[in-house]
């Protein structure tokens, strides 16, 4: 399906997108249902019935969503406007839609317009409220914050984003019960339960990571344990001039993957600097250091964080909602290891929802992906009895010892 969607969006041979009117707002890059059918008929030389069916599938799986009646996931062969769903929300790339995310989405809807939640959504909302009650403050805060951020956007953009999100959740939390996009008739449909057994997420995860699993698929150029060649490790050290393709691809799997990779984090920081929101990542890193650092340094580190990020007029002031800010400022009067947790989570989710998806669409990321290397596979040696010499590597302890030694020398000299 995705190949088809990409073809549809081709600037030359693809669909003609134009601005559609939705009530009084103009939505950019939309198309009519009629246009979709015609394009499919021409491109694949099928009859109208088949094109209607095919288009219907695209809508059902969430690759195209309707602007007028978002709940009705069907393709109308008339002037009804449709849009392409952003790849960030494709069912294939976005695995486990978490309970937390869903709760935030429902909370947003509820706040935006009281009574806008459908019956099944109301049920789920109260079930979620019971289930993740301990983080409910956070959910409401996040929802308010996201609504505030979206109000600052142009109306057309806002409508588009709302439609995208709504379409995504209609697919992932359909009214009838757990993911109704199941393949295979053998699946037993359980009752509507908020303890949503998202078992398909295991399948998706394993599939997504299969190429990255050396034991399953091997690794390039070769597995060092089998070939005695450490090239694979050399190419994947923490900081390399050019990373491998698999590594850069992995950054798009989840925000956590990007942050866990030192190079990924560095690239993301570059992107944020361009967007003038690097303070968020700096803040998050500072909070991490407090959470996992020595107990003795907590007080001074929290002071530093206050000076640099939270104080009015701070050099790297972070934009947190007033409730969290008040709570945090109150808390740091008695600093402890977890005092910045709320603020940190807030900024984390802000980056995850806003900057991260935009980074993945940016030229910075796309260029990195394009120039990433795909190593050549080295075939096993012809003479099996000739074993390569196994070279030792510098111990991590040595690297640090040298660094501290140098530090000492500098201090002595200065």
């Amino acid at each position: 399906m995705e190949k088809m969607i990409v073809a549809m969006q081709d600037p030359d041979m693809g669909m003609k997108l134009r601005n559609q009117r939705l009530l009084i707002t103009v939505i950019p890059h939309a198309m009519t249902g009629h246009d979709i059918i015609i394009w499919l008929i021409h491109k694949y030389s099928v009859c109208e019935e088949e094109a209607l069916h095919l288009g219907g599938m695209l809508v059902k799986y969430g690759y195209i969503y309707p602007l007028k009646e978002p709940r009705s996931l069907v393709l109308q062969p008339d002037e009804s406007p449709y849009r392409f769903q952003t790849p960030y929300f494709w069912t294939s790339t976005r695995w486990p839609a978490s309970e937390l995310d869903y709760a935030i989405y429902l909370a947003k809807k509820n706040i935006r317009k009281q009574g806008e939640l459908m019956e099944y959504e109301k049920e789920r909302y109260s079930l979620l409220h019971k289930k993740i009650n301990h983080t409910w403050d956070f959910v409401v805060m996040q929802a308010r914050e996201q609504l505030r951020a979206s109000k600052q956007r142009r109306k057309a953009d806002r409508i588009v984003l709302e439609c995208q999100e709504q379409a995504y959740w209609l697919i992932n939390r359909p009214p009838g019960g757990p993911n109704s996009l199941q393949r295979g008739p053998g699946l037993v449909r359980g009752k509507l339960a908020i303890n949503c057994c998202d078992l398909p997420s295991f399948l998706k995860y394993s599939e997504q990571y299969q190429n990255h699993d050396p034991i399953m698929q091997g690794c390039l150029p070769s597995n060092p344990w089998i070939s005695d060649d450490t090239a694979h490790w050399t190419m994947n050290t923490e900081m390399v001039p050019v990373p491998t393709r698999l590594r850069v691809e992995r950054w798009s799997f989840s925000f956590m993957e990007l942050l866990n990779d030192a190079m990924g984090r560095q690239e993301f920081m570059l992107y944020l600097e361009k967007e003038f929101s690097a303070e968020n990542l700096y803040f998050w890193q500072a909070c991490e250091e407090i959470r996992h650092g020595e107990s003795s340094k907590i007080v001074e580190k929290v002071e530093e964080v206050y000076k640099n990020f939270l104080a009015p007029g701070a050099a790297r002031w972070v934009n947190i909602d007033s409730k969290t800010m008040d709570k945090t400022l109150e808390g740091i009067k008695q600093p402890h290891r977890f005092v910045l947790d709320d603020a940190q989570m807030h900024i984390y989710f802000l980056m995850k929802k806003d900057s991260y998806p935009r980074y993945l669409k940016s030229d910075l990321y796309k260029n990195m992906l394009a120039k990433a290397i795909v190593p050549q596979e080295t075939k096993k040696s012809v003479f099996p009895f000739m074993r390569r010499q196994r070279h030792s590597s510098p111990s991590p302890a040595q690297a640090v010892a040298q660094a501290t030694e140098e530090e000492g020398r500098h201090k002595g000299a200065g």
């Binding site: 486990p96 295991f202 997504q208 050396p214 034991i215 690794c219 996992h292 030792s392 302890a397």
Partner: protein
Amino acid sequence: MRSPLSPEMATQEVPLNETLAHLKTESETLKLKLEEERAKLHDVELHQVAEKVEGLGQFVMKTRRTLKGHGNKVLCMDWCKDKRRIVSSSQDGKVIVWDAFTTNKEHAVTMPCTWVMACAYAPSGCAVACGGLDNKCSVYPLSLDKNENLAAKKKSVAMHTNYLSACSFTNSDMQILTSSGDGTCALWDVESGQLLQSFHGHAADVLCLDLAPSETGNTFVSGGCDKKANVWDMRSGQCIQSFETHESDINSVRYYPSGDAFASGSDDATCRLYDLRADREVAIYSKESIIFGVSSVDFSLSGRLLFGGYNDYTINVWDVLKGTRVSILFGHENRVSTLRVSPDGTAFCTGSWDHTLRIWA
């Protein structure tokens, strides 16, 4: 646990026992009710959902390195973040740091006690932690000076009232999480040795633990002799979820790479997968021909494979999704006591009572 009864309490003993018995039956009925409710919500198993998934072909995995040097049973091992170094501990009190790729020993420490049941590599690669029958967890900074006695710089961090069964550094070198035969887990500040949080809830020895790879990074799971696997909140010390479907001691717990589930290995010869969102067991990995206990489990990088080290000297490789056994590996000459997949998933290492460690790929 028996407390000495004074003569006055003897007269009160009968009603006390009755109340206890009554409470016990009540708790059993409640447990059954809970299981029934859980079952009602959803009785789909993972392998049913995975029916259409392509099966895995033949798996050829061999021993690529054998590390010889311990003088007695190897009890525990851990990988260094550099993907090739490991630390291992054994019954004779020795803790050895190896470059598994070249099989060279790089450091060796002799602990003042025997049965060093737990060891862990620090994230920075500059220290190791270990402990066992001494009821403590100590941290040794790794010095490169060949003449320096590592034991001299030893730092005692954790103190339990019974043996140390497992230990793990959290995201940094500054905190250690421990589990003990005294039935508790604890979080410690390495620098000061201060107890940051303790976790009470197991009714017997805690044998294993694993930290969650989640975004918010605040939970871990532990398994014990009470057949329970508990999920804990590190901040509050609360037990937030509990699973009790094994029929014997849980020797090993390991999170699924996404953090949404964890696997456990037990003396009841099965491995099981528990889904944290669904709050129940979703898969059992067992075979009639496997009758010996599982000592240690770990996932391959993608989570598709689950490796289990067994007390019958073998390693069984399971297809996590389909629930079938993909492969059985022979090589060790005694129990497999510990098993970990390397940080980049290129291999896994096993330690055994046959005094050796093996790297498989």
